[in-house]
Amino acid sequence: MMKFLWSFLIGGLLCAAAQVLIDKTKLTPARILVLYVTLGVLLTAVGVYKPLVELAGCGATTPLTGFGYSLAEGVKNAVDEKGIIGAFTGGLTGTAGGITAAVVFGYIITLIFNGRPRD
């Protein structure tokens, strides 16, 4: 049960911090996402993010910092296994599922639906 609570708390806080950045600075959403993914890589590299994932589970892996975490973890594991070439293969291997899902489901949805004016 604690896992759910931590997941809610950490996930919520990561989103709330991004909202403060949007409202208080002129950062566009695209810049914030880039900031989050690189921050995720950095925090994983210095060893901060993994404990957070262990604590909050999906609360740390679902926000885009978690995407950076998967990239960094993928790279780390691949370097351990294969040496320097792992730096080139590990990142996208670690995130292959997500990216492929976005392309495949995105494509299927595009075939079915059309855009409409929002309110």
Binding site: P29, G115, R116, R118, D119
Partner: protein
């Protein structure tokens, strides 16, 4: 040299029409528009074609109200917000008449009225068509985000109006007269916030309004209405305050099309409407009908435009504004 042009033989508005989308039709001016389509597609399969169709319908309706056939048009002055102005191109090809494509962003309707009036007054054409449009979906795709993208708008942001307005401008003894025009100049006060177009355009509106009263020697209360195009809540109050500071009080007669077209509270439209279709549909709907009913006699219509492109924004350039003035008299 002064900018104010008094038209010797004031041309008249022989016919006018407005076409709008769903949210404009749900707004406070609902009853004044001629045509609306809830789907905002107007029978077309893309938003861009829908925009052209709105222009075509508006000009056709204006012609039929003027009891004129398309052959009578000497030229069309048209504009929109799409890249390379193609919205107007595909609308105008239906009329087989000389075509001038204009780009003045949201100020284009006043620009097209002005040029039509100048050509008619000078006698080069007997009758001209002035028509402009904007479509929320086409503009959103081009300038901002995809339609289904989940984003929040800033409170100062404005919403592009889905709408078109057309006027047939010619001679005769009836109809509203275009008696004075004042072309705007590009004014840049360094605003580069794309979510605050009102602030970017306000200096141009201030410039043109002030110049008009300086050159004409008139006072604001001589008019029933001073109407800006689409400054929205932000630009409206900036313009009012700055003019007041500079000794020109227009508060009693001042209004803005962007504020009129939507109910900002119930429709959640933030700072108000914008786009070339905003003031075009408001003027060709509400304003012209009020002239007909006799509740308006003499107004200044100042359409404002924010002259930026997606590339200029990404390169961090500021957003210059422009404001064209047209005086309409019963």
């Amino acid at each position: 040299m002064g900018r104010l042009i008094k038209l010797e033989n004031p041309p008249r508005i022989n016919g006018y029409a407005s076409v709008v989308g769903k949210r404009e039709h749900e707004g406070p001016l609902s009853a004044d528009f001629d045509v609306h389509d809830k789907s905002e597609k107007f029978g077309m399969d893309t938003w861009e074609k829908a925009e052209s169709e709105m222009q075509r319908m508006a000009l056709n309706l204006a012609l039929s109200k003027a009891k004129l056939s398309p052959d009578a048009l000497g030229a069309i002055f048209a504009g929109d917000l799409q890249n390379q102005c193609v919205g107007s191109v595909y609308a105008s090809e239906n009329f087989h008449t000389p075509y001038f494509g204009l780009y003045g962003a949201c100020s284009t309707f006043a620009e097209s009225i002005m040029l039509s009036a100048l050509f008619v007054s000078a006698g080069y054409f007997d009758i001209c068509g002035a028509v402009t449009s904007s479509h929320f979906c086409a503009a959103e795709r081009q300038y901002r985000f995809p339609l289904e993208y989940g984003g929040q708008r800033a409170p100062t942001a404005q919403r592009t109006v889905t709408g078109a307005g057309a006027m047939v401008i010619g001679g005769g003894n009836t109809g509203v007269k275009i008696t004075e025009v004042m072309p705007g100049r590009v004014v840049d006060k360094g605003i580069n916030d794309v979510n605050n177009m009102g602030a970017a355009m306000a200096p141009a509106a201030i410039d043109t309004i002030e110049s008009y009263f300086n050159e004409s020697g008139k006072s604001p209360t001589e008019f029933d209405l001073i109407l800006t195009g689409d400054l929205g809540a932000e630009g409206h109050s900036i313009t009012l305050e700055y003019l007041q500071k500079r000794g020109l009080d227009i508060a009693a007669v001042y209004s803005d099309c962007g504020l009129m077209i939507f109910n900002r509270k119930t429709q959640d439209m933030h700072s108000g409407g914008s786009g070339c279709g905003c003031s075009a549909s408001v003027v060709c709907g509400n304003i012209m009908k009020r002239f007909e009913k006799g509740t308006l006699h003499d107004i200044l219509y100042i359409a404002t435009g924010a002259l930026m492109s997606p590339s200029s924004l990404q390169q961090g350039l500021s957003i210059p504004g422009i404001a064209h003035l047209v005086r309409l008299e019963a």
